[in-house]
Amino acid sequence: MKPLSILFIVFTLALLGFSTYQALVVAPTEQTMGDVQRIFYYHVPSAWVAGLCFFVNFLASVAYLVKRGSNVDALAAASAEVGVVFCTIVLITGPIWARPVWGIWWTWDARLTTTLVLWLIYVSYLILRRFASGSQTQVLSAVLAIFGFVDVPIVYMSIRWFRTQHPSPVMGGGENSGLDPVMLHAFFWNLLAFTCVGIILVAARYHLQKMENQVESAHAQLALQGGAR
């Protein structure tokens, strides 16, 4: 591992410790919700990292279709996987917060439903990556990534309309309405820390994918030589 990446990992660990301290100790307890509100410092940054990963996935997929480098495909695969992980964290921390605050685990509200559909789309992307064979995988998954990315705004628009038509019973005001400056402070530290964690995970997964590609092509090369002999 390069010294620069080790430095970045150490920096991220320190940042993560500091931001956790900010979120759990420094930030004041929310008046009505109590301590459960603190999940907000993890929930929203995870959503941000997931969104960022899916955006990187989209850019890498377009780049793959234009230039056909197997490295951008590795980046697309890495970012989609990490994105799904963070999206899963969002979908798990959300209900944990919603149960005491809203009184229910889940409601078919626009943002919740869009996140779930987003998760479904990218899980189907990962399934396709698993089931497609050989070098076709890269083209097919790049194509599906573009479909998925185009679909997300349409999903959000349609579900927003669906829900404004049939109002949901338990949606209070947004959690961002008038945030305490100390809370905002803690929130931004966590946002930064989570973004760094996301970058590290994507980078690690990217290198792993590149190594996998190398192993695969070495195997193919070996098989070809064996066939010639």
């Binding site: 399934i127 497609a132 076709q136 083209v139 097919l140």
Partner: protein, 224 residues
């Protein structure tokens, strides 16, 4: 060869093959008939209730039935390497795609026309809103399912688990279209709200995804 000639020739060939074998339409018809019967056992609705749930039932039945036909779209082109022959020919790829999508569109529309009376009889449906709008919803919604379905069928045929893959990648992408179809149908049947937004939304969905399909089909056809 012009695009139009290729589209027309491929479409005509597919329609003729379907007319002789009736593979797709028969399996779709029987499949959706089964869904109608099973759903009516499962829910046993009154006329009032069925108006509320019919939108969902009808479109879920047609969606599942359409997958049956979509999966067969490219299968026969794999035999005797027809698809490979197509790739080396100078014919434009999008002409082939449009012919396949139009063919599937026709099959599913015919299925819907045949099944609609059965739904009316089994679920005692009577529309409170203007029923002609259902035709608009059906045409736009069917194209939404079929254009992406034909495209994803071309993708899933290249994976290891051919038939299983199609619904797995088609359904998540189709969620907004399905939502629009179901809710506008409910709106028309109950007469409680206007389906105008959903019809516009389907139109937008159709235009966007037809464009994306035409843009990317060549990559999928030539995927190595």
């Amino acid at each position: 060869m012009s695009s139009l000639t290729v589209t027309r020739a491929t479409l005509w060939k597919d329609l003729r093959m379907e007319w002789r074998s009736k593979d797709a339409i028969n399996s779709m018809l029987f499949f959706s008939l089964l869904v109608v019967v099973i759903f009516s056992f499962a829910f046993n609705p009154t006329a009032e209730e069925s108006r509320l749930i019919a939108g969902g039932l009808i479109w879920v039945a047609f969606l599942f039935a359409a997958v049956v036909a979509l999966n067969q779209t490219w299968a026969r082109e794999l035999r005797n390497q027809v698809l490979d022959a197509y790739r080396v020919s100078p014919a434009p790829p999008n002409a082939l795609f449009l012919a396949k999508a139009l063919g599937n569109f026709l099959f599913v529309v015919i299925l819907e026309a045949l099944m609609a009376p059965l739904f009316v009889v089994f679920y005692q449906l009577r529309s409170v809103g203007p029923a002609w709008q259902l035709v608009v919803v059906a045409l736009l919604g069917t194209w939404a399912l079929v254009v992406n379905g034909t495209f994803f069928a071309a993708m899933s045929i290249r994976t290891r688990s051919r038939e299983i893959m199609l619904p797995l990648i088609l359904f998540p992408i189709s969620i907004p279209a399905l939502l629009a179809m179901v809710d506008s149908t409910t709106g028309i049947l109950t007469g409680e709200f206007s389906p105008d937004f959903w019809i516009k939304m389907l139109l937008v969905y159709d235009v966007i995804f037809t464009a994306v399909c035409l843009l990317l089909f060549e990559s999928v056809l030539n995927a190595e």
